[in-house]
């Protein structure tokens, strides 16, 4: 399953809830303010690094760039463009948006 998270982890529990429910091998795509979770050396980066052992984590590059975060991405988090977003939707049997 593909999970999308569009909220900052610093003001919303969507990412935390998502990571709790996401199963081994699932994919998590960070979009909009959700991309703040992809940044290194933050209050949630340990949680994200831990989650990378269980799930694949992607971040939408345009949203990272818009927030000046493109050069601060945690190792192991993969960047995708909108076409990559579409591919992730196609590759997984269902999409859960954690709004």
């Amino acid at each position: 399953m593909l999970h999308t998270v569009n909220k900052s982890p610093f003001e919303h529990s969507a990412l935390e809830t998502c990571l709790r429910y996401a199963r081994q091998g699932a994919a998590v795509l960070l979009i909009e303010d959700g991309v703040y979770a992809a940044a290194r050396d933050t209050a949630v980066s340990k949680q994200v690094e831990e989650a990378l052992k269980k799930v694949s984590i992607y971040a939408l590059e345009a949203d990272l760039a818009a927030r000046g975060m493109r050069n601060r991405v945690i190792d192991g988090v993969r960047l995708v463009d909108y076409e990559g977003f579409v591919d992730l939707v196609v590759e997984h049997n269902a999409v859960q948006s954690w709004l």
Binding site: T4, N6, I31, E32, D33, A62, D63, D81, Y82, E83, F85, V86, D87, V89, V90, A94, V95, S97, L99
Partner: protein, 130 residues
């Protein structure tokens, strides 16, 4: 692949309308079919032709209309959400005795059953919202 899109957030609010549009555009460019874009809750505000954003800003409503014209997209506003927020087509305006309608080109107003149908008919349903 057949994709359904649900938009629950109004334009110029956070980013959902923008992300949904960019996603739809990318999916069409890759040769996928968009079965329907359903606008629910504040998302129905994506369908008013009376918005006049600054000229140097993106025109979210017009962008949807143009994408719909180019790809024959089915853009549907939920009728109950639309009535609450003052979105109406000619028939609705007449029925409620209003002096004008405001539905943008390419959009139509229908019921929630259209969302259920989108979920059934599409291979994936992708939700954008707040």
């Amino acid at each position: 692949m057949k994709l359904g899109i649900l938009v629950n957030e109004g334009p110029y609010t956070h980013q959902a309308s923008d992300t949904a549009y960019q996603f739809a555009k990318a999916a069409l460019a890759k040769g996928h079919e968009i079965y329907r874009v359903f606008f629910y809750h504040d998302g129905v505000n994506n369908g008013t032709r009376l918005t006049v954003p600054p000229q140097d800003d993106r025109n979210i409503v017009k962008r949807w209309s143009e994408l719909a014209a180019e790809h024959k997209l089915d853009l549907v506003l939920c009728i109950a959400a639309a009535q609450r927020r003052g979105l109406m087509d000619k028939n609705e305006a007449k029925r409620h005795g209003k002096d004008t309608d405001n539905l943008a080109a390419g959009f139509r107003i229908s019921g929630l059953g259209q969302l259920i149908e989108t979920g059934i008919q599409s291979d994936r349903l992708v939700v954008f919202g707040d």
